[in-house]
């Protein structure tokens, strides 16, 4: 293992390697033995509802949290035994802001460069480069406290890139941002991928954004339930999604089971299920629909999305899962009052 990579060149082909990684917080098993590898240059997405263990996993990879069991290496270095080496080679953008609002954008980035020991003569050109990329170079002298949420997130991304990390970790980089800013952040990620030799590891709970990743791992209740490219995952579903709106979901589910042998579920206030070739199913549905069954108000057929992938692996949509876990978490937080997050 040691000596398999040089310090300045010869990027290891595997950027992140995780084996049996576990983390327990008291009685709560936040991460239950995950296993995966991310290739150099890949954009790898971690998808799952809040509380699925994404942030805990990212924190272990960033050396912020010590794993309970298992091992992980980032940029060729072990996250427990070679913490410093890992830290020198990664960039981090957290979910919560970590900028100094009293300093200017430039001062924030300079501080980062000094903390990471970036060569003095390269600080300025590198700063110009990363700030230009996120469109903030002309605002470099503004105090960060005056920035909008989107601008701050963009600045954090720029800062995370200041020291040319091999792996950039983005924890929910687009959470709470307006659609336009979200899109531009994805543009930067695309640009980064083109220009720099960098691996990007990100977490998100926006299904549409996961489509941008080369590969995604779906995480639920501390475990990885699926891992592949978005296309493969969607193709693996093999069915289209049909959603029926009626006044009585339970009766509809019973009728579908009775007439078509379909196992449907309640989801987001409607009944939904997967069938092969959904368009052709709709006429059959109406032909065989009894007047005694609840009146159908609307039918919607869609190609499988990552949401469906998520549903087929976890049995609920990501939003439903979040509602459940939200309740769960509230209860837990009341018990603990403070302590380990997620």
């Amino acid at each position: 293992m040691t000596g398999s990579h040089g310090d300045t060149n010869g990027t290891p082909p595997v950027a992140i390697e995780v084996r049996g990684l576990k983390k327990n917080y008291d009685e709560v098993e936040a991460v239950r033995g995950v296993e995966f590898a991310v290739a150099t240059g890949e954009v790898f997405g971690f998808l799952g509802p809040n509380g699925a263990g994404k942030t805990t996993t990212i924190n272990m990879l960033c050396t912020l949290v010590r794993p309970t069991a298992g091992s992980a290496s980032v940029a060729g270095y072990d996250v427990v035994r070679q913490r410093d080496e890992v830290r020198r080679n990664i960039g981090l953008v957290f979910q919560d802001p970590t900028l100094d609002g009293y300093l200017t954008a430039e001062q924030n980035l300079r501080l980062h460069a000094e903390l990471y020991g970036v060569q003095s003569d390269l600080v300025k050109p590198r700063m110009q480069q990363v700030m230009t990329m996120v469109g903030l170079w002309d605002r470099k002298d503004s105090v960060v406290g005056t920035f909008s949420g989107g601008m701050r997130r963009r600045l954090e991304i720029a800062r995370g890139l200041m020291h040319s990390p091999r792996v950039l970790f983005l924890d929910e980089p687009t959470i709470g941002l307006d659609p336009q800013t979200r899109r531009s952040i994805w543009e930067y990620i695309g640009e980064l991928k083109e220009r720099e030799e960098i691996t990007i590891f990100m977490t998100t709970h926006y299904m549409d954004e996961a489509e941008w990743c080369d590969r995604i791992a779906i995480m639920d209740h501390g475990e990885i339930v699926a891992l592949d490219s978005p296309e493969t995952l969607k193709a693996g579903i093999g069915t289209d999604r049909v959603t029926i709106h009626t006044d009585d979901d339970d009766a509809t589910i019973a009728a579908l089971a009775d007439r078509f042998g379909i196992e449907a579920r309640k989801s987001e206030g409607a009944v939904s299920f997967g069938v092969p070739e959904g368009e052709q199913f709709v006429p059959r549905l109406f032909e065989n629909w009894d007047p005694a069954h609840p009146a159908i108000k609307a039918v919607n057929v869609s190609r499988p999305t990552l949401d469906d992938v998520f549903m087929s692996y976890t049995g609920s949509t990501i939003r439903d899962a979040e509602e459940d876990q939200g309740k769960d978490r509230n209860r837990r937080m009341m018990q603990m009052m403070h302590g380990a997050r997620r």
Binding site: T40, C62, P97, D100, Q129, E196
Partner: protein
Amino acid sequence: MSTTTEPRGPAGGGPGAGAATVEATPTPIVRVTVPKRSLASELRAIKIVWRREIIRYRSDRLRMVTTLVQPLLFLFVLGSGLQQLSAASTHGVNLKTFIYPGILCISVMFTGMFSAASIVWDREFGFLREMMVAPIRRSSIVIGKVIGGATVASFQGVIVIALAGFVGVPYAPLMIIGIFILQLLLAFTITAFGVMVAVRIKQMQSFMGVMQMIVMPMFFISGALFPVANLPGWLAVLNRLDPLTYAVDPMRRLVFNNLSISPQARAALDPGVTWFGWHVPALLEAGMIVALGLIMLGIAIWEFSSTE
């Protein structure tokens, strides 16, 4: 997409691979490499943490004013007011002159504590995380914070030193230098103490509460406002245990060395600190402040390093 996955194949290309990507892009990428951790990189980290404190202090004019209000209130209002009562027992010495060293100390103390509080702010607003994940030692963060806070606090001290003339303290160069050095030591120790407390505290309100609980008693017990001889037994014990005592006492001696007053006044107002009748020399007092500061810095580093 194709260009980025490429490095997997010709990975043997080693140094050439990096150069190829640079060529392919319109503007060359400025690539930096993060050096291995060394003493130099730690010193650089300490320096930037220190500088951040200075930058923040400079941009916060309000703080400069607010931390001065209380000491000045003590000095001019309390000093002038109580003068009416105490004129007989101060042997003709202005009370403001007498309490001046104490006020200087409390002023430095307030600022130092306030600077230390920034570690709690940083935790609350997330910035602490940015420093904690950097490839530097935790001790560098603490040392930078303490030196930064001490610098800010001693700057505040300089402002109070500048006011000496208003309370009948002459601007004698040697005395000024002596006072400056003493307040520098005090600033360091107080900030180290503040940081030691602050690394354990997660919320600003709690920190402020703790500070109130510690700073005011330390101030009142230290002898900033009264001579430390002939105190009731319990107060004498507390007074000798209060670290601030050993900053106020040598400072007062320096001031009184430069006043032309009667020996009786000198004896009454500047009796010096005694341990079981033994006069504690000023140098030992200064040494104690430094030693205490170093011990607390050590504890702060240890505590900070063992947090998650």
